[in-house]
Assembly symmetry: C2
Homo-oligomer: 343 residues x 2
Amino acid sequence: MRVLLTGGAGYIGTHTALVLLERGHEVLVLDDFSNSSREAVRRVEELAGAEIPVVEVELAAPNSAVAAALAGQDFDAAIHFAGLKAVGESVQQPIRYYRTNLDSTLNLLELLGDRGVDRLVFSSSATVYGDPQYLPQDEEHPVGQGLTNPYGWSKAMNEQIIRDAQAARPELAAVLLRYFNPVGAHPSGRIGEDPAGIPNNLMPFISQVAVGVRDRLSVFGDSYPTVDGTGVRDYIHVMDLAEGHVAALERIGAGVTAYNLGSGTGSSVLEVVRAFEEASGRPVPYEVVQPRAGDVAEVVANPEKANAELGWRTVRSLAEACRDSWAWQSANPQGYRTGGAAA
Amino acid sequence: MRVLLTGGAGYIGTHTALVLLERGHEVLVLDDFSNSSREAVRRVEELAGAEIPVVEVELAAPNSAVAAALAGQDFDAAIHFAGLKAVGESVQQPIRYYRTNLDSTLNLLELLGDRGVDRLVFSSSATVYGDPQYLPQDEEHPVGQGLTNPYGWSKAMNEQIIRDAQAARPELAAVLLRYFNPVGAHPSGRIGEDPAGIPNNLMPFISQVAVGVRDRLSVFGDSYPTVDGTGVRDYIHVMDLAEGHVAALERIGAGVTAYNLGSGTGSSVLEVVRAFEEASGRPVPYEVVQPRAGDVAEVVANPEKANAELGWRTVRSLAEACRDSWAWQSANPQGYRTGGAAA
């Protein structure tokens, strides 16, 4: 299969590209490099020993520009990663977030229709479940209730838009992958998560503290009703996540189906800190600060549906994720801006 | 106040423009005339004895085009009617519906921010409530659960987008007006509802049957648990609805507030048929056909919040709505395409 990866130069896109290439598929990366790097794609090429064609265009641009940029490029399926993803920024810049995340999906759906491409995997998020009404959350959990930020709403809206587009074009088969908390990196340390500015997510923040880029970690609250009072999340190794995309693409059925991609196991913030300290051999100083508005005590996936229907499950531990994140961060303390000095 | 009316040449836009002008406000109509007529604006000018500037542009076009079209036009507030509204068509053309209805709202919000315009009234719909969980529905009824078509989803999404845009720009004050079933026309018969093609709504269909444009009305099901087995809805005279917009605009508070605009009284399909026959003196033949998927037995507004906070209530009866619809339809059997022969 030749697979279009929108946002294919990003964190999850690059790891998925690599796994697809290793499985014998071809990939075509579409990215505007607004929050990603050509160097990331170059490194995937190096790891895979394959060339990756890149189309540089903003997917949310007027659709004629996107169609023009993709002229002459054929593909059999699309995995749609492209979008803005910083929760806090989405609260500050809601119009930009909605415009980018919704228009990119609408453009892609139109493009797939025009090209007769019938397979779509969408990068969704467990954030569409809002406050957990029960744990672990399965795919039947209510969606789109009590979400607290435009990023989360844009994911829920995109799921609905894809469902409605599929209803109007029944030959389209789509999978909605609801990610829990992606962490880790390719074990080579050559590709990994490279957030611009202050990381929004726990693991890149921890690894920047361990490598000395930042002083200390802020832990948002330690009096939640959890094992040690800090928030519990379901962390999933990005290589497991990437394999989940390939499984979804290869087993895609008719209609629209949602799958949780998570491990089914929760870890507290302090458990992640300790695992990272052990993997890196470096101390990770932290201070406990006020809880953040909208945060909940615990979010854990029920991944049984993906286990059963996609023949996929997570196989990598939190310790491995910490080891691989550290391999990436220590070799690339400034991410891809490090300039490829580490190899 | 000088008020921008997006979609101001449409059914509700024209009636609202007239009431605004009669109340001493100025209006500026923005419309692309894709589903409306310049003749409608001309007739509002004639009824009001005032000139209405018109900006012809597609609000969902790239925002630079919209900003350019509005260059040199000042306004103090906006009422946002523009959008596609045919439920069945939205199921067939979801991408077009989402693109038009979401991008137009995003563009308008951006424009209001750029201009420093702080008052917005949004044309929403009781359809955001989905299947009634209780009756009559007040504004606390859950929103966005179990909606059955992209039109309804686009209204619910736009409400959320407006809420998030307001949170990021606290000086913006916005009102979400959830319409029940608008019917009737200005009593002059000069302006009214002029649907393209087969009407989607009951009253224009009935009035086209009465005037002989169509053979008979299809009544979708007669075994609902209602007074006579046919579906019950809350019909609101369009002049009452227009006055609700003006009240909302004049009393707009801080933040975002939703109001139901409905009468609080339900009428069955057959009650509307009989009221129309009486008002018109014409027979309205009908046949009972299969219920439509997604239709519910009864939808009735609780309008107490608008009554109390906006100092507004419906004052026109269903009989008056039928009389005024008939005045419009009989004088303009082909709508505005009739060519202004009636006066």
